[in-house]
């Protein structure tokens, strides 16, 4: 048995639906991508003044996408799949399985387009079938 591998270099952000990967949208006009990494935990203070770090498992990432001039199809697509599991890939090779709950659309006044902000919250997802 042989296995083959291939790599693809993306020039923008692609969002694929996890339940149907061939269902996707790409956003060539992305103007902002902000990725936050969040390790739950805190530095605690104890009686006597001791300090130590207590964390819990699970580093969560969020990706905030700013997508100007989205077409009506793109906006409808995002609004259709709110709360669904998606795969987000960007032009830097990053890949996040996640979901978005509140896409924010700022409709453009003189066109059928809109500026969209989407916060992708990472979820633990297994690709194995």
């Amino acid at each position: 048995m042989t296995t083959a591998s291939a790599s693809v270099t993306l020039t923008t952000v692609w969002i694929n639906l996890a339940s149907s990967p061939s269902n996707y949208q790409s956003f060539p006009l992305m103007s902002g991508l902000e990725v936050d990494t969040n390790q739950p935990g805190e530095v605690r203070t104890y009686a006597g003044g001791r300090l130590r770090l207590v964390t819990t498992a699970g580093v969560a990432r969020t990706a905030t996408l700013t997508l100007p001039e989205c077409s009506r199809d793109q906006i409808n697509w995002l609004q259709t799949y709110v709360g669904q599991t998606v795969l987000v890939r960007d032009d830097r090779g990053r890949k996040i399985w996640g979901t978005f709950l509140q896409p924010k659309v700022n409709e453009n006044q003189y066109a059928q387009t809109g500026d969209v902000t989407v916060v992708i919250n990472e979820i633990t997802y297994t690709e194995a079938v």
Binding site: R44, Y46, A47, G48, R50, R52, A57
Partner: protein
């Protein structure tokens, strides 16, 4: 308290486990397992665990409870769950089992998708804390251990029974009968604890793996210290800043009388009666309070005068030590067990304390412990 190096962390040294618990950096990962009716592993369902706590009130009838939020249903009232916690510092990790529980009271939150269940579980003593519903008798000549094992086997609980072997050959001098009477609420746990009490053993408890255990009752002040909580130790302290101490001398007894039952002759002092007076010791003595405050006479089921004396001394010690309790918040100390003895060093003072209750938050938050000073 659990041994630091018992399974499932037997590959680590005690120093390594202690450093995991108290080190300058720790990562806490909660877990949950499904067990069968014999406490054997069925599956890991950690992915369904949203949050939860494990609590132990060592002075309650059923000591262990857990409060969990689960994404997914289990066999309510049947399936057994074993929460556990893994501590890691990036180099080594250790797992700590926190008890075996039967989930009794699921509350489903239908507003969420998937549905989450807020559930309360009780440790396996709950299988014994049910009414007998009949008259029950154990005949003289039966060993106490046999009588207790018979009950647990008959109820098909599937848990091992580990009793300290000191009095394994001790037999009942008389028949013991728990009669069915109007309003009778005698439980199997009552009967077992009566039998254990007769030979001055501690009330039955369930350990972190669901095994039933008991050992001879020993005054807490004479037991070995199992853990030191020292607020001035900047390398190991895990006690949060907020902590309270409560002193209470209200209605503190300084005279006690215990009478052995059953007796075939009239009990007298030294043979069926045991009287204790605290004339001058501590802040609740007759001298300190200026008067004698008598406790109600207590009739105790005892195999002999030695057992009566030992049970009486335990009650006296418990009565006397309620005068000081510490309420503290503690980071997870997942080796906590049943009626542990700790040394609490704080503000220049040092107290030997019995842990009356503790809470372990599975997500690692500081949780409340109540310590009762038992200084000799």
């Amino acid at each position: 308290m659990q041994s630091l190096t018992q399974a499932p962390r037997q590959n680590l040294t005690a120093a390594q486990v202690k450093s995991l618990i108290t080190g300058s950096q720790v990562q806490i990962t909660p877990g949950l397992e499904l067990l069968d009716g014999n406490n054997n592993f069925v599956g890991d369902i950690s992915s369904t665990l949203v949050s939860g706590t494990v609590e132990r009130n060592c002075l309650a009838a059923i000591h262990g409870t857990c409060n969990l939020v689960l994404e997914g249903a289990v066999g309510w009232g049947v399936d057994r769950l074993r929460p556990f916690m893994v501590l890691s510092n990036g180099k080594i990790s250790a797992r700590f089992n926190l008890g075996v529980f039967v989930i009794q009271t699921p509350v489903a939150n239908l507003a969420e998708n998937p549905i989450t269940y807020s559930v309360t579980g009780y440790d396996l003593l709950c299988f014994l804390d049910v009414p007998v519903g009949d008259t029950y008798a154990v005949t003289s000549g039966t060993t106490y251990f046999t009588a207790i094992q018979s009950i647990i086997s008959a109820l098909n609980i599937g848990s091992n029974l580990y009793l300290d072997g000191t009095l394994q050959s001790s037999t009942l001098p008389n028949d013991m009968v728990w009669a069915l009477t109007p309003g009778s609420t005698t439980t199997w746990l009552d009967i077992i604890n009566d039998l254990l009490g007769s030979i001055n053993y501690r009330n039955l408890w369930a350990d972190e793996n669901g095994n039933f255990r008991s050992t001879p009752a020993v005054l807490p002040s004479t037991r070995a210290v199992e853990w030191i909580l020292d607020t001035s130790d900047n390398t190991q302290n895990i006690v949060a800043p907020k902590r309270d101490v409560t002193s209470d001398v209200f209605d503190a007894h300084n005279w006690w009388r215990f009478v052995r039952t059953p007796m075939t002759t009239k009990p007298v002092e030294g043979a069926g009666i045991y009287t204790v007076q605290n004339t001058s010791t501590g802040r609740t003595s007759q001298t300190a309070l200026g008067r004698t405050i008598k406790a109600p006479v207590q009739f105790l089921t005892a195999a002999d005068q030695t057992s009566l004396t030992a049970q009486g001394n335990a009650i006296v010690a418990a009565d006397q030590r309620v005068s000081r309790t510490f309420t503290i918040s503690l980071d997870p100390l997942p080796v906590a067990g049943h009626l542990d003895i700790v040394q609490f060093k704080d503000n220049g003072s040092s107290d030997i304390c019995q842990v009356d209750s503790w809470v372990t938050d599975l997500m690692g938050k500081s949780s409340q412990w109540i310590l009762e000073a038992v200084n000799a």
